[in-house]
Structure formats: structure tokens, C-alpha cells
Amino acid sequence: MTTQVIESKLSPVASAPAPAQRRSPWLVPAALAALLLAAAPWMSGQFVLHLAILACINVVIVNGLSLIDRCGQLSFGHSAPVALGAYGSVLLASGTGLGPVVSTALAAIGVGLVSGLLGWVILRLRGVYFVLVTFAFAELVRLILLDAAPITGGANGIASIPPLQVAGLVFDTRERFYALALGAAIASVLLMVWLFRRPLGQALNAVAANPTLAESTGLSVLRLQIVGYMGGCMLAGIGGALTARYIGFISPESFNTGASVAFITMLVIGGRKSLYGPVLGALVLTPLPELFRGAVQTQHIFYGAALILILRFLPGGIAGLPRLLHKGVAK
């Protein structure tokens, strides 16, 4: 309350002290729009459904990246946990006969364990060194997948992956899979929102803002970052498993540096600071290639330019637009 009073006294703008009041005119229309957007693919045909499914899976993966980012470290090798989750769930299912859901869950846990171990080793590095190591590690994973042909199918990949089955309900149509993907996307966003309201989330924020200060207040930076890293990688692994079950085919080429760069692009353009950044980034950037399909190179030039411009002028990404507009309007 005191803060609000001070704020209202300091700001030259007549009142509207409340974030709460500022939010309400937008909340209902925004929620309606989101609902319409979410429901639209079911009425728009197979291709739109396909894009929507891919976008939702990207939301899950990029939320994972966002979680890692919010611990103060940016991973340039996010394609690695995605690949491990995909291959893990498929190989577990075909190798042990466990159902697809169980093997996906197990694969996610596996990815969590591996990334926990890896994180314990590499999270001691800061900034650029962490970036380079994650980059190198992702390449290493791709090489291993390529080379372990007897197990992973090597460059041929694994084809004819059976669709997901939950209690007799088979997810082999786009309509059904979209429901699943949408659910996963919403769940990942809710998870992030919930997490960052809790003390654990606050601690992660503190670690990201100023690690030295956080350490001095008794928080173990390394342990917190490991937790965040594990969580982020598990989300990525789940996204990978979903991709495998949807497309029905995986190969190491789908998880190369281009994929890692794509996830970072989505995060940055969507907005690194906002909890809805990943959603916006995935929504905007997944269908975009389709508009540009005739002119692939122009599309990439556009991405590159957009990255630079957003970093320069709109560090909050697309999610930062409303605030910018508000500032403009409020004047």
C-alpha cells in the first residue's frame, strides 16, 4: 500500500496507481481473445491444426529455455534435452514394451537426471563460458545420436513411431493431438506462473539478478541453478517426446544447432522478461515460415534483423509492447 501511495505521488500521471486497475480493462478481452485463438484451429482445417500443434509444442520447449534463462544462465544447446527426450521416450517404449505415456514420463525423468548431473558440472561456469559449453554439448549429443546407429538408427532416424495412447484413447488424429498439445502448453505456462510466485521462484530471480548478493544472503546459487536447469531440460524433454509422437519420425538432423538458435530466437523475440514471452515467441515464429515459404532466405534475414532490432529497441520483446504502448498512451 505504501509503495502505491509513493508511486502515485511521484508519477506525474493522474492516478491509475494500480497495476490492478490498469490490468482490468484488458484482462477480459485478452482472455476472450486467447480462448478464441486457442479454439480456432479446430475449425480451420488440417494444415492450421498442424501449425497449431507445432506452436504448442514449441511453447513447452521455450518455457523450458525461459526457466533456465531466469536462473541467470542462457543455454545455447537447448536442442540437446529435446533430442534426449524424444529418443528416450521412443527407445524406452520400443525396447521395454512400456506404454508411450509411461516411457515419456520415464524419459523426462531421465533427461532431468542427466541434466542435473551435467548442470552440477557446468553451471559453475558463468556467462559466455556456459554458453559455449552448452553449444558444444548439444553438438556432442547430436554426434552421439548419429553414430550410435544400432540403437538410434543413426542418420536414418527412427520411423513409424506409434501414436500416444492414454487409456484406450489413441491420439492419432490432428484434432485429438491438438487438444493434448494445447493442454501441455497451457500446463507449462501455468507451471511457470505458479513457480515464480513461490519462494523458490523468487530465489531463482534473486540468483539471476545478482548471484554474489544472493550467495551472501545464504542462497546456494549452484544448487538453485541446477534445479532450474533440470526443470528447464525436463520441459524440453517432454516437448521432444511430444514431437516424436506427433511427427512419427525423428532423426538427429531435427535437433541441430539451427533448432537451438530457433528456440533462442523465439524466447528473445517473445520477450525474455515476461512469463508470456515464450508463448508469444512460439505463436509468432512457428507459423511465420509458412508465410515465407517461397522466400526462405528473406525470412531468415527478417529473423536476424528482428533479433537485433528487438535487442536494441525492445528488450522486453513482443511481450514488452503493451508496456511501451501504455507509456506512450499515458503521456
Binding site: 556467462g127 558444444a136 556432442l140 532466405q297
Partner: protein, 289 residues
């Protein structure tokens, strides 16, 4: 098979490739040292250097040496401009600078794709045939490239050691704040540092162009190698990058003798990661942790 001869051949191969890595890595670490920026577009400047040489030699029929010299000058000018116009806001901003260079890389590669198309092109060889010294056979064209590369490195060394501008650059790499106190002007050194750094990449590209083919995708692998070399040698350490570059070239050459190419690649990756964790300051110990 005669192991001595084989090892000798592998050493010769490794040194030639090592020189390429050296040029890439020194430039990369120079950019980092001056601007604290991990330049993800470094490989694209290598590619642009190669295409510049290609255009000058094939389309304008200039002699090779002249084409290389021109490519370098063009690269330095272009690099300085890019730094000044695009990267200035990101000086000293490590993470955002990195992402900005990713954007830059995307733009450069796709502009090259639009201009030259995706198919590889080749330059006429600068020399034909091979020479055999002590039982080791090296292609003449590679010998020439080694010669030019050494000349470039000597020039660079002289520049950094003896010229006032070069000394200023080294000062900025060592410690930018103290250099500023001594009157070293950042406004000149940032664009210059970036320009020379990517100029080295462009030289590497131009020199290698007649040996391998030139395509808009050719920059990916040298970028990865540059990463590995500076991790080993220490980010920001020029001597570290030089030594590590040669070592990596030799290591790759020897390991390919004994095991398959992909196993060799994997082992080297693991070595690099382990090396970074064990020696955060770089094996030579002069980098920044």
C-alpha cells in the same frame, strides 16, 4: 605401413589445418578481448572472405594474391562499419551482444545465399601438383597457403608488438579500463578491433578458398572449431588461441589416423569440455575465467 611416414604425413596435414584454426581463433579471441563479445557471426565473415576472393578471382580475373589482399581490406572496412552501425549498443553487453551476433550471422548467410545461390563454387587452383619432402607429400597449393598464412601472422605480430595502434589494441584487450585511463580511445579501438578480428577470419576464408569449395554454408564448421580453440586456449588470450589452434589441428589429424572420423570428433568435444572445466582460464592460463 610405415608408421613414421604416416605420422609425418599426419603432422604435415595437421599443421596446415592448424594454421587455419589459428587464424580463425586469434581473430575470434581478439574480438572478445576488445569487446567482450562472443561473435557468432565469425564463421560468416570467413565465408564472406572466401566469396570475396572468389568474386575477385573468377569474375574480375585478378591474380590470387591481389584478390586476397583486397578481400582483407574490404573485410576490415566492412567489419568496422558493421561494428559501428550495428553492434555499438552491445559493447560490453555479453549476453545480448552474443544474441545480436546470431542475428548478424543469419543476415550475412542469407544475403550470401540470395546473391550466390546454395551450390558450392570453386576457384582455379593456385598451384598444381605436390611436393614430397622427407617422404611426406603435401600439395603445392597447400604449401603456398601455409606461406601466405605465416606472412600474415608475422605482419600481425609486428603490428601488435611494434606499432602504436597495435599496442593500443593489446592494451584494450588486456584491460580496457586502464587503457582508457591512459588515453586509449574506445571509439577507434572498438571498430578497429572488430574489423581486424573478422579480417583475420576473412583472410582464412580467402586463403582456403582455392583448397576447398566455397559455399554460403562453409562458415559453420570453422566457427565451431574457433569456439573449441578459444575454450582450450582461454578466451581473450591471443597466444593461447595461437597455440591451441595448432594443437587442435594436430590432434584432429592424429586421431583420424587411429579411429573413425566421427569417434575422433566426439572425443575432441569431450576433451574440450573437460579441458574447460579443469582449466577455466584456458590451458595456457592467460584467459579470463
Amino acid at each position: 605401413m610405415d608408421w613414421q611416414l604416416l605420422l609425418g604425413q599426419a603432422t604435415a596435414n595437421g599443421l596446415v589445418v592448424g594454421l587455419l584454426y589459428l587464424l580463425m581463433a586469434v581473430g575470434f579471441t581478439l574480438v572478445f578481448g576488445v569487446m567482450r563479445m562472443v561473435n557468432f557471426a565469425h564463421g560468416e565473415f570467413y565465408m564472406l572472405g572466401a566469396f570475396a576472393a572468389y568474386t575477385l578471382v573468377v569474375k574480375l580475373s585478378l591474380p590470387f594474391l591481389l584478390a586476397v589482399a583486397l578481400s582483407v581490406v574490404l573485410a576490415i572496412v566492412f567489419g568496422s562499419l558493421v561494428e559501428w552501425l550495428v553492434l555499438k549498443p552491445f559493447r560490453k553487453d555479453e549476453l545480448n551482444g552474443m544474441i545480436a551476433t546470431i542475428g548478424l550471422a543469419m543476415i550475412l548467410q542469407n544475403v550470401a545465399l540470395l546473391t550466390f545461390g546454395p551450390d558450392p563454387v570453386s576457384l582455379p587452383p593456385i598451384a598444381t601438383g605436390a611436393s614430397t619432402v622427407l617422404g611426406v607429400t603435401v600439395a603445392n597449393s597447400r604449401l603456398y597457403v601455409v606461406g601466405f598464412a605465416l606472412a600474415v601472422l608475422l605482419l600481425l605480430y609486428a603490428f601488435l608488438r611494434h606499432s602504436p595502434v597495435g599496442r593500443g589494441l593489446r592494451a584494450v584487450v588486456e584491460d580496457a579500463d586502464i587503457a582508457a585511463i591512459h588515453g586509449v580511445r574506445a571509439r577507434i579501438y572498438y571498430p578497429l578491433g572488430f574489423g581486424i578480428g573478422i579480417g583475420l577470419a576473412a583472410i582464412a576464408g580467402a586463403l582456403m578458398a582455392p583448397l576447398f569449395s566455397v559455399s554460403p554454408f562453409m562458415g559453420q564448421t570453422p566457427l565451431l572449431k574457433a569456439f573449441m580453440v578459444v575454450i582450450l586456449g582461454g578466451l581473450g588470450s591471443i597466444p593461447g588461441a595461437a597455440v591451441a589452434g595448432l594443437c587442435l589441428g594436430l590432434l584432429e589429424s592424429y586421431s583420424t589416423l587411429f579411429m573413425s572420423s566421427s569417434t575422433a570428433d566426439m572425443l575432441i568435444f569431450i576433451l574440450v569440455v573437460v579441458g574447460m572445466l579443469a582449466f577455466p582460464r584456458g590451458l595456457i592460463g592467460r584467459g579470463e575465467a
